[in-house]
Structures are given as C-alpha cells and as structure tokens.
Amino acid sequence: MQKSGFVYLFFGLAFFSSCTKENGAVRDDSGVYKPTFVIASDIFPAEFGMPNLPKDNRLTEEGIALGRRLFYDPILSIDSSISCGSCHKQEYAFAEPVDFGFGFRGLRAHRNSMPLYNLAYHQRFFWDARVKTLRELVFEPIQAHNEMAMTLPTLRERLKRNKGYVEYFKKAFNTEPNLHDMSLAMEQFLLSIVSKDSRFNQFFPGDNIKVLSASELRGAFIFNGLIDFDANGFSKGADCFHCHGGELAIQLNAGMGGIASNGLDAVSKDKGVGGITNSSQDMGTFKAPSLLNVAVTAPYMHDGRFKTLEEVIDHYSEGVQFDNPSIHPQMAAHGGIQLNLTTKQKQDLLAYLRSMTDSTFLKNPAYSNPF
C-alpha cells in the first residue's frame, strides 16, 4: 500500500507539474515569456489519428501566431510585395486559381500552387516530393528568384529591425528574430492547418450514408473501385482511392501511389520526382495531392492544365497515356484499357468529389490573414 501511495504521489505531482507547463502563463515572475503549449488532440481530430509531429518543435499558441503572421507578411519577399499567402489563398484551400503563380516582378512559378492543409500527416512536400520537413520547405519559395526572391541575410536583418517581430519572437521562442525560429514558427502554423469538416469526412468510413446524396454515394462506389465486375469477374471501378484514399483523401505511402505518374503525357516534359532522384522510373511522377476541397483548388495537376474537375475526370476516364513508361502500376493495371465512364458515372463521381469541400475550413479565422 505504501509503495502504491508513493506511485500515486509521483504521478500526481507529475500530472500537476505538466498541467502547469501546458497552461503556462504568458510571462513568468522574471518577465520571461513562456509559450502556451497546444494540446495536439485539440487540433487533430481523432478520426485522422495522431500525426507524427516534430518532437523538437512543440506547437504553441505563440509559435503558431508568429508563423501565421510570417505566412501573410509580404516583407518576406525582396520587394515586400508578395507573401506566402499571395499564392496560397485560404478560400481556395490555400491553392490559387491560376496555373502558375505570379512571383517577384511578375515572374511565374514553375508549378501550380499546392493546397495547404493536413500537412502534419504528410511525409514529403512539393510536387516533386523533394523536401521532407515544413521547416525546410519554407525557405524554398522565399529564396526562389521567380517567387519571393529574398536573400536570407536581408530577411534576417529585416526581421530584426521590425519591432513587432522582436516582440513576437520573444513570446514564441524567447529569442531575437532569427531564421531558424522563423522556419519553426512557420512550420507550426502550417502544421496547425486542418481540414476535417467536409460531408465526405462526416460520411467516412462509410457508415453515415445519410450525409451523402444518392448521386454522391454512387460516386463513392466508383471512386473506391466497388462498382461492377467485368465479364471475366475482374473488379472495375475508377480506383481513385489507391492514390487518394482514406479519410485524408491522400495516399501517404509513396510506393502505394503517394508518388505516381497518372499518365498525363506519353513523355513528360516536367521530370517531377525524377528531376530529384534521376531515376528513370521516377520521370514524370509527382506527389499525389489530397482531394479534400478539390472542388475549390482548380486548376489541376502540377501544371494546372485542367481548368475544371470535369476535365480531370475526362482524363482519367478516356485520356490516360498508357505509353508513359513511368505510369503507376495501378493506373495501368487493367491492361491499358480506358475506363470510359458513362456521363452519369462522371456526374456521380463529380458529386462525390464536391462533397469533399470543407467550407468551415475555408473560412476558419484561425488561418486567415492577421493583417
């Protein structure tokens, strides 16, 4: 009994201590700012599971707030004209409605802006999957000559001279403005962006059929490859779920379709992942994006070639270039035969894709421009 008493006392103290830390005051007695740790389960829904968050960059309210400010602040670009938010607009799920974004002096980005949400679950970033952490990611558009064209020494000095950032960095990290903590703050903000309230998410894993219309449900069957069987008994269906499956509507395992060629061209002009790995198998392959909010992220594909979801569906139905040597086995799995969906099937699939829009997320003030 005595032993267990000590155990209870120990855990009681540990719990009390941790509570104090989690809910730490903004400023302690010595005047030092203490960040307010964010409880991960308050951000990430149980339905998604807990993401593998970076252990050396715990989410704090102050860190997220700083990251959000930096995300929307044009002083991160060389001429203070462009922020990250210029090409990643919340109302478009942090994508933008142009094929290639406009950067410094009107120069164009090389690829279509990817949407930004649920990134805490992703293991690689950019269309060519070249970056594995968000803290690395943020430096790329900032320094790209055709995007924000900033130099790091200039940015460091600019942040240091800004009284607001002196205060914000102190609150978040108890440091002067510096580029490392800048990247950590932006990582925190990006990690905190969650889209979870679409009707698709309410429907998932498939037992709440009331939230979808009959057409959307039929679309779900097509999407998940559950319709019909051909005359030989082989399964058909559009099989979209292989690369865009699960509640996050994305395949996170690269080998299972997380990185794939979807047969856009017989020969890809853009090397995609192959440009990073130099592997012939990777030429023209790209990271498969999540389809949550896909109805608002037009135009589509890495080069924004498809202006509408109808065009996207047409591609997968009858436009796949099976000659592409890197085409994903799942795409070519049925002997190189086009799906040839009927008009009705296309409409149903479109309806299902539109059920993935999370209008709450698109207007969530926690992610909006603070300026």
Binding site: N52, L252, Q330, H334
Partner: protein, 261 residues
C-alpha cells in the same frame, strides 16, 4: 559466412495457410525471469530469382518463369503474431507481434531485445489480422505503429479493412516488348495467411541476426503459375480476382527462406 547457411532449401509445405479464427498458440512475452536474454535483428529482404531486388529507381528487369521478366516497384506487407517458436512449441512474441515490412522502402529491419536464451525451431507470423483488428478503427494506432494507415498506406479506406500485402511492378514478355504493369493486393479475411519458417536458432550470443529472404518471382511460379500476359491484377475481390489471389498465396509458401547471418 559459416553461419550464413541455408536452413532449408525452401520453406516447405510446413508453411500453413489458415483462417485467423483458428486457435492461436500461447504467446510468451520476453520469457522466464532469470534467463539470459539476447537482441534479435530481424531483416526482411526482397529478392527476385534469389538475387536482391535491383536498387530502387533502376530499370532492371529480372527473369521469372515463362520467359517473362519483372521489376518490383512496390512491395510491403503487414504482419501479426510475429514470434519466434521454441523447440517445445512455446512462442516468444516479438514486440507487440505487429510489424510492417516495406521491402522497397527503408522499413524492413527490426530490432527486438529480451529474447530468452535457448533453442528455437522457427519464426512464425500471420500476414493479415483477426477480423476485429482488420475491421476496427485504424486510427486507434499510435502515430508510429506499423498498423497506423498514415504510416503504411495499406488501408482500404471506407470499405474497411487492410491490404495485407501489396506487390506492384512492371513486366515484359520479352526483352523487346513494351512493359506492362502487374498489381497484386492481398486483402479480406479469406486471405489471411499464416507462415511458419523453420530455423535452427540457438540464442546464446548477445545479438543474433536473422534474415528472411523473399523471392517475388516465386509468388507467380509454382504448382500453378501466373503469366502476367494473361492475368496481372488481383485486388482479392471478385471471382477471378479471388482465384488468382489463391494461386498467388499458394505459391508464396515457396517464396520465403530464412537464415541466421
């Protein structure tokens, strides 16, 4: 090298395929107190025709039966009941018994501590799970657990259940032919498969390394062979898919070899 010996030329029909709802053997976690323990490094290595898979990204096709050649681009599988089997039939469960081996990725070597000293006669595992696990909420698993779908990417999604094994790749009928694709995804309870790999292992050193080498080509050549030209896809659902998957798994009994290295 002396210890790199083949225990058996093939995994015999001692590898058995049964449904998960059959009896489970007793499982011992860590063994008896006071018994010295060792560390086990367990590696799962993909091969074609007894040679390692070519490095990822290289366009190298290896010959399989019937003159076709193949290249594996994706291959991973989920295990439960992973355990060493003692000579008396008792088992020492490895970790929590679950594992995900990604033979084309970086997650295929696993370390287990606390393996009790003694003589063992084999390694067992089940490719797949019991029904409750297979159809339960996959998000209950911690973020780094092999069954977390965000880690393994092997959950069917809303229709429920896991893909127990996914093997995808490309093939050529002959050297001059254009390549085609093959895709075999094992799923649904009827295809839960139990394997027993015979191994004479005397655990006495501080660390032992055991390698399970798995030949992809043998999944397609056996009592009944699979010619990609004729049949190259099975998702385990639908009459023809199921027949094909059964052949694939029957052949898999001869695909595993186990060594102490």
């Amino acid at each position: 090298m002396l210890k790199n010996r083949l225990i058996l030329p093939f995994v015999f029909a001692s590898a058995v395929m049964v449904l998960m709802n059959s009896c489970e053997p007793d499982v011992i976690n860590g063994g008896d107190k006071g018994v010295p323990t060792s560390e086990l490094e367990l590696a799962f290595v993909g091969q074609i025709a007894d040679e390692p898979l070519p490095p990822k990204g290289q366009d190298i096709y290896k010959e399989k039966s019937f003159g076709e050649s193949m290249m594996v681009t994706n291959w991973s599988f989920l295990m439960s009941n992973l355990a060493l089997v003692k000579e008396n039939g008792d088992t020492v469960q490895l970790g929590d018994g679950y594992q995900w081996a990604d033979l084309r990725g970086t997650r295929n070597v696993f370390n287990y501590k606390g393996i009790p000293a003694g003589k063992y006669k084999g390694l067992q595992f089940t490719m797949g799970f019991d029904s409750a696990t297979n159809h339960g909420n996959p998000q209950v698993w911690p973020s780094d657990h092999p069954l977390n779908p965000n880690i393994n990417g092997l959950h069917w999604g809303w229709s429920g259940g896991y893909i127990f094994q996914a093997m995808d790749g490309r093939y050529k009928e002959n050297a001059d032919a254009a390549s085609g694709s093959f895709s075999f995804h094992t799923a649904t309870m009827q295809f839960v498969t139990r394997y027993f790999l015979p191994l004479e292992l005397n655990v006495e050193k501080s660390k032992h390394r055991v390698a399970v080498r798995i030949n992809a080509d043998r999944f397609f050549g056996g009592a009944e062979s699979i010619r990609f030209k004729d049949k190259s896809v099975s998702h385990s659902e639908g009459a023809q898919d199921e027949i094909l998957m059964r052949i694939f798994l029957d052949n898999s009994l001869y695909a595993f070899r186990i060594f102490e290295e």
